[in-house]
Amino acid sequence: MDTLPALASLLLPGLGQFLSGRRGRGLSVFGVLALMLALVWWATAPAAGFAETTIAFKGDPNLWWWLIAPALVWAWNVWDAARPGGAPGWLPLLVAGGMFAIFGWQTAEISPSTLLQNGDRVMLIIRPMLQPDFLQVRAEEREGWVELLVPCPAEAPAAPSNTSDGIALELSAGCAAVGQELTVTGAGLRPDTAAEFIWQSPIGDFFPLRDPADPQQFRLVQPEADGSLQAAFSVPNAIPPGIDPNLPQEQRLYVRQSRPLGGWELSTNGRFVLQGIYETLSVALMSTALGTLLAIPISFLAARNLMGANPVTLAIYVAMRTLLNIVRSIESLIIAIIFVVIVGLGPFAGMLAVTVHTVAALAKLFSELIEGIDPGPIEAMRAVGGDWLQIIRYGVVPQIVPPFTAFTIYRLEINVRASTIVGLVGGGGIGFFLIQWINLSDFRAVSASFIAILVIVIFMDQFSAQIRKRLQ
């Protein structure tokens, strides 16, 4: 029994252990207890001034019961200080760990059940995700249309006809009520391909007509051998909500034939994905190049061995280092938010953001390299009679260029990842397309951009690994 350390620990947790030589343990005990007490205090403190906080349990007085946990650890700490060999460490770890886990669970709003409850959303995602929207079958499209009024005005118009794209269409009436049966007669169609019927609503939305026999299927009509077609259909209810259903509006029936030509082509979104890849790689490359260019002079200002000589330069050194450290801890995503406000949406904003972060990160690394260079070769170059430039070229440059290059390549790898995510806040590239597609719930395109990101990142990893191997 060590009474003195026990007393010390009773007063200040960890003090006893600290004084009797177990410093690490003392500090840990103190730290853990301080954290536990702070957590209870935070949880029981009422929400700030107005109830804008999203943390549901904050301010509940029942949470004071949680003080039992730190009390247990406190008691354990006295025991630990009193026992010459120390007390078993798993006890407080269990209590503290349990407490943190429970609070963490609540605070981070973890609820695995939502994963299941929202299972239907996953189904919404998964099917389109398996069909990335990148390539589509190459096809020749032809499209004819005819226009009618729904519902009928007081004075019914004549039966309309129209020819476009070589397809002539004629309707049995110029107007109709919703649900009314009409007949369309067509000519000039390709006899070998079935035709789709597509309806255009008064506000310009398109939707395919469904097969009356099987509503799961779209309506397909096979033309005759001479390219003519005759089919009956009922007028769908395409009047958007909020529009007076009694007001006659122009609607259209499109008859579309799509003949596969064999082979594949980029879809519209596929082209966006390619553009996104191009922009993302550009942002990564440009920011790395620009960042390196700016980091080099700055790194000289942030190198202690070059700047430590007199108080003025030392002050510059300290200021530089502090600035670099602050900027380095601001993620490029946040810097991108600022640049988007300044220069507007687009890859330029993202590029500037990644550049700023790159300058800060590289300048620190570079300056550490400069601080570590070997003065020997510099002395040797002076001894052989080299001038200032020659001393730099032969004594300094060969020492720092290979590691500078290695860091730069490594940074390029990081920047590729960074430039995908600055897009999420408007910094251009694949990330920008991705977040828009997410907002439109176009998961086929989302899937394509996920694959694109995978390809870019794996490609860059390999590329930089190769280059770094050569630089060794």
């Binding site: 804008e52 981070a108 994963l115 942002v283 490359l285 920011s287 601001i330 993620e331 300044i342």
Partner: protein, 376 residues
């Protein structure tokens, strides 16, 4: 190697230049735009540099000035000599007289509305005024008959001010930011713990020396490897977009995304640690007739614990960084708060959030460096 060195250097330089030209084009570089719009960034930066951390409680205070109409109908009030005050050009007025009222030491550059408080207790709106930089204004009044003294109670000119009272104290923004910091740290904590729990056993499945025995083992090895490599390629914040759609905006979406990426990344690192162990002890224990589990527990685990620990701390550090921003797209934590403040142009509050992020990242950097020094 047959290409002579200067030529090779020139070719490499040209290739790099060409790539940069492409990149210049692709990232739509336009420094003129940057220079022209830098002025826009200045107020933003100023707001960020003056984060909303301290404030005083705000109380409405009403300044009053009794103006007896007509003169002598009630006691005239001598105007105050200092502090926020209203000073009339005449101590009293006859009906329909015009006079001016000056205000001194009010809040500078603020828009205020003056009003009459009638003897009946009703209000009668007066002019809108804006104080200058010294908190001074001058306004025209007319002594309308309606403001005439009634039963010895004069009409009064009033202005309502928002006055800061009491001591400086943490602003509500600071409270909310603190709450969100706690949420952020717990997001990182829960994700890291969950990922460690999953990745530690999974990593053995991706270790060549453990699994590459027999076709089943090899298949599992490649499967786990692929899983790790694929999900390691995504930033958690990218995955968070999808999880936010699944479980809704909130910390949970971020935790899920972080967990997945951390499992993949830690799993890879762990499995490399497992692959790098010294086979000697394994051989020795196998020779003593220990079973597979015993071999793992007594020959492999002691060798990998230090590495596992150091990788975990390293990732905890990264996760704190990422969880500060993951809320920007997935909801939850300080990132979400930052997004809200930026979108509503409350830049001083956004500044508070940014500083909080910087401090959290710094502290975590420091702590994890210390812990790693101590334990590994």
């Amino acid at each position: 190697m047959s290409v002579p060195r200067p030529l090779r250097t020139t070719l490499t330089a040209l290739a790099v230049l060409a790539l940069i030209a492409f990149a210049w084009n692709g990232s739509q570089v336009d420094f003129a735009r940057l220079v022209n719009s830098l002025s826009k960034g200045w107020p933003l930066l100023q707001d960020f540099l003056t984060p909303d951390v301290l404030g005083r409680e705000i109380q409405p205070v009403t300044l009053q000035l009794a103006v007896p109409v007509p003169c002598g109908s009630a006691a005239e009030a001598p105007p105050a000599a200092s502090g926020p005050r209203l000073v009339p050009s005449v101590p009293c007025a006859a009906p329909r007289d015009k006079f001016t009222v000056e205000g001194f030491d009010l809040a500078p550059n603020t828009e205020l509305q003056l009003r009459w408080r009638l003897p009946s207790g009703q209000y009668f709106p007066g002019p809108f005024i804006t104080t200058d930089a010294d908190g001074y204004f001058k306004a025209e009044f007319e002594a309308r008959p309606i403001v005439a003294t009634k039963d010895g109670v004069p009409g009064q000119i009033e202005v309502e001010l928002q006055v800061e009272v009491g001591n400086l104290r943490p602003s509500p923004t600071l409270h909310i930011v603190l709450d969100n910091v706690v949420v952020t740290i717990f997001m990182a904590l829960m994700a890291t713990v969950a990922a460690v729990v999953v990745a530690a056993p999974l990593s053995f499945l991706a270790a060549q020396n453990v699994m590459k025995r027999g076709p089943v083992g090899t298949a599992i090895y490649y499967l786990t490897r692929t899983f790790f490599n694929v999900f390691r390629s995504y930033e958690a914040i990218v995955l968070a977009t999808v999880f936010a759609f699944w479980v809704g905006f909130g910390p949970f979406a971020g935790v899920l995304a972080l967990t997945i990426v951390t499992i993949a990344s830690l799993g890879k690192l762990y499995s490399e640690a497992v692959e790098g162990i010294d086979p000697g002890p394994v051989e020795a224990l196998t020779a003593t007739g220990a079973n597979r589990l015993q071999v793992v527990l007594f020959a492999i685990v002691p060798q990998i614990v230090p590495n596992f620990l150091s990788f975990t701390i390293y990732h905890w550090d990264i996760n704190v960084r990422i969880s500060t921003i993951i809320g920007y797209v997935g909801g939850g934590g300080i990132g979400y708060y930052l997004a809200q403040m930026i979108n509503t142009s409350q830049n001083s509050k956004a500044g508070t959030a940014i500083w909080a992020i910087v401090i959290v990242v710094w502290v975590m950097d420091f702590l994890s460096a210390e812990v790693r020094k101590r334990y590994t």
